[in-house]
């Protein structure tokens, strides 16, 4: 067991290190701005006094390294400073929106993950059949479509033509869960379609790869019936690839969510990020980037740790 703990510890350490490097990149990239943040915020026409005042207010008179440490120590406790456009605390701006985004992603994941894995396994078992070929073309088409294309098509049919679901997902405090699920159905469905396509393909590839192993052939030649080959021989070895597929696609959800939120005017963190980018509200941009990157790293970490924990070679060392 010591081996496994060591490996997991190592992987965790690497994750923390990468997150640290990314925080450096995110912070110091802003330093690359022509001029500085104050200049960028106030524009060319700003007077010297205004600039100086803003610089002082933002602490720009301090050296960059000090400001970085300051920012990082704040970020650890989820304090990302104040927005330079509205002056509000960044945490107040994005806190609730982050929860909304998580809700949307979870909504999509709960539908997509089980369906995609089951379908992926079925397609893998029926490989080279007409069903497999059709599934291949369909999933490829969904992967190739931009999220906003799928989103607008869904709006066109479900919201405009058939009027089954609302096109715009405005949320309010006093909604029941059922209402919430209906309101956010279209954005969730868009995400489901894209992520499911990705996941099905990856699951199929992983399973086919597994079924080509000599020990699967051995199991067949030992006379094991097909269900037993899958359940007893393939599945115990399939966890690592499946965990990997799930984690990768949840990570993909994070990116996909930005565009979908914009299409459906959903009050999530992606929408906030896009707004902040166009207003050049750097503290908000940095905070959003760090949150997205941290989630992304966390999911990749989970996949790797899962793969380590389910590897029989590591679970039963020599």
């Amino acid at each position: 067991m010591g081996d496994i703990l060591g490996l997991v510890g190592k992987r965790l350490g690497l994750g923390v290190f990468i997150l640290f490097v990314i925080s450096i990149i995110i912070f110091f990239m802003v330093e690359l701005l022509p001029g500085d943040i104050a200049q960028a915020v106030l524009g060319q026409g700003a007077t010297e006094e205004n600039l100086a005042a803003l610089r002082k207010q933002m602490g720009l008179d301090q050296p960059a390294i000090m400001r970085y440490l300051d920012w990082l120590s704040g970020a650890v406790f989820l304090d990302f400073g104040n927005s330079i456009v509205t002056g509000e605390r960044v945490t107040a701006v994005i806190g609730e929106r982050f929860m909304n985004t998580l809700f949307l992603a979870a909504y999509a994941a709960v539908i997509a993950v089980p369906v995609a894995i089951v379908l992926g396994v079925i397609v893998a078992l029926l490989r080279n059949s007409i069903f497999d070929r059709v599934a291949n073309v369909v999933t490829l088409s969904f992967i190739s479509s931009p999220e906003f294309f799928l989103g607008y098509i869904l709006i066109l049919f479900f919201a405009v033509k058939w009027q089954m679901f609302p096109a715009i997902s405005s949320l309010s405090e006093d909604m029941t869960l059922g209402e919430l699920l209906i309101r956010t159905f279209l954005p969730a469905l868009t995400l489901v379609l894209v992520v499911m396509a990705h996941m099905m393909r990856m699951t199929r590839a992983a399973i086919i790869n597994l079924l080509a192993s000599p020990y699967i052939e051995m199991a067949r030649l030992k006379g094991a019936p097909p269900w037993k080959v899958i359940v007893k021989h393939a599945l115990p070895n399939a966890w690592a690839p499946i965990i990997n597929v799930v984690a990768l696609n949840l990570a993909y959800l994070i990116t996909g969510v930005v565009l979908v939120e914009v299409v459906f005017v959903y009050p999530g963190i992606g929408q906030a990020l896009v707004d902040a980018v166009s207003k050049r509200d750097f503290p908000v941009v940095q905070a959003c980037c760090l949150i997205f990157a941290a989630t992304f790293i966390l999911l990749n970490l989970a996949a790797d740790v899962g793969a380590i924990l389910t590897n029989p070679r590591l679970r039963h060392p020599k």
Binding site: Y215, E217, M218, R220, K222, A224, N237
Partner: protein, 560 residues
Amino acid sequence: MTNKKEVLLEIKDLEIQGYSDETWVDIIKGVDLTLHRGEVLGLIGESGAGKSTIGAAAMGYARDGTRISNGSIEFDGMELTTASESEKRALRGHRIAYVAQSAAASFNPSHKLIDQYSEAPLQYRLKKRTEAQEDAMELYEKLRLPNPQEIGFRYPHQVSGGQLQRAMTAMAMSCKPDLIIFDEPTTALDVTTQIEVLAAIRDIVDEYNTAAIYITHDLAVVAQMADTIKVLLKGEEVEEAPTKEMLDSPKEDYTKSLWAVRSFKRDQKERPKDGTPLISVRNVDASYTGGDKVLDDVSFDVYEGMTVAVVGESGSGKSTTARVITGLLPPSKGEVLFKGEPFPPDYRNRTKDQLRQCQMIYQMADTALNPKVKIAEIIGRPAQFYSGLSGAALKNRVDELLDLIELEPSKYYNRYPPELSGGQKQRIGIARALAAEPTFIVCDEVTSALDQLVAEGILKLLDRLQKELNLAYMFITHDLATVRSIADEVVVMQHGKVVEQGPKTKMFTPPHHPYTDLLLSSVPEMDPEWLTTLLEERGVDNVGDAATAQIDPNDPKISG
């Protein structure tokens, strides 16, 4: 041998097709096969001959991308080509079992050995779990596995290769089948390990009077195992006869060429008196980054115009020694001298002339020649690189080299390696080494991937070149027949150490170092009685891993 017995398996006019490039092509073209109860049939042929495909077909099984297109397979009165999937499945593991080439890959990494053993008996409701486990232990003991009570409760990756192969044989025996298909069960093993697996398989097959199809490309191995031998070539049968008859008087030319005992032999040369050796390896220690020592105080000399054979099993460090000499792996201690001058340890620090002196010929000609480069450039590049030849001079040089390796220049000049046969490719590899005009060539298992007859041609060519160009060879090999034919001196290695070295004649006459002795005796010979005699002489507990473990590497008989 028991002749007039009940027919167990009868294959008639079998044709199997494989799917490639969007079409079905024939890979088995009408093969017949008859197997009686308790009989062992050896299927032999090169890779691509279709032996393995026939083996699977005997279980009514067609691998992915293949299909049985014609013929009949009758197992104990049941026609497998028309049987339903569940009928065929009921035979597999129960009445016909399979032993795969790579045991390490064919055991499921997630289950214990004994659970995989008892899977079939439980499924066919032949035994209860505890009974099956007791059975397994008994079989493990018969197969001479260490700790038979305990070994089954390990996972596959916790057991060594030779043991896994025996555990797989035990698994095949779990339902006491009528027929076992052995698909190259010892190919991936070392000679000293192979011998105990062979002995174990033979005992168990004899004891339960099981019929078997033994698939291999190694003639000497099949001679020990089979009652009858069938030779295959490109999906067609060449001939079939009882083992003894087949070995003594093969009829077809192809079979004769396979059987051809190495006839080539040349006289042993003596070291020049008081000359400096061309290459001198002095007290070399080496290890790969972060690993254990793979070479431990290795020293030997190679004189001009002479051949030194380095012999040992995989992991003995013979290839690593070559890497140290060529400079790919700088030693951690010791040095390599060239004509008495130290060679820079890293090839990157060697001068063009130093690099030129020492060339290499590889085992796998497939990976040694860039498939996307024309022959003319493969051979021409060293001449261009070292001697600065170009234009007509370069072309002349390439023609000359092709002549030297006995290939028609105009025919091969513009071709690519994948268009050539194995022997031709190996010749191109030799030409590339010669193009640098070296004095020393490392030959890394150059003949082991080739058929007997082709290999013989290569050896003759190397010998002729040595005489004409006064080359020195370091011949890495595990094949003692090759050593006998071409070596002047022999170096035996084990676990990174030189255990014995000296002139060839001395090495092949007793007394030997115990390891040399074990190695010499473990190499199968074409005589069908070889294994029996050997086991009688040495005793079953004195072969294979057990014997290796008994050897003290610091035996005083190590000569220097």
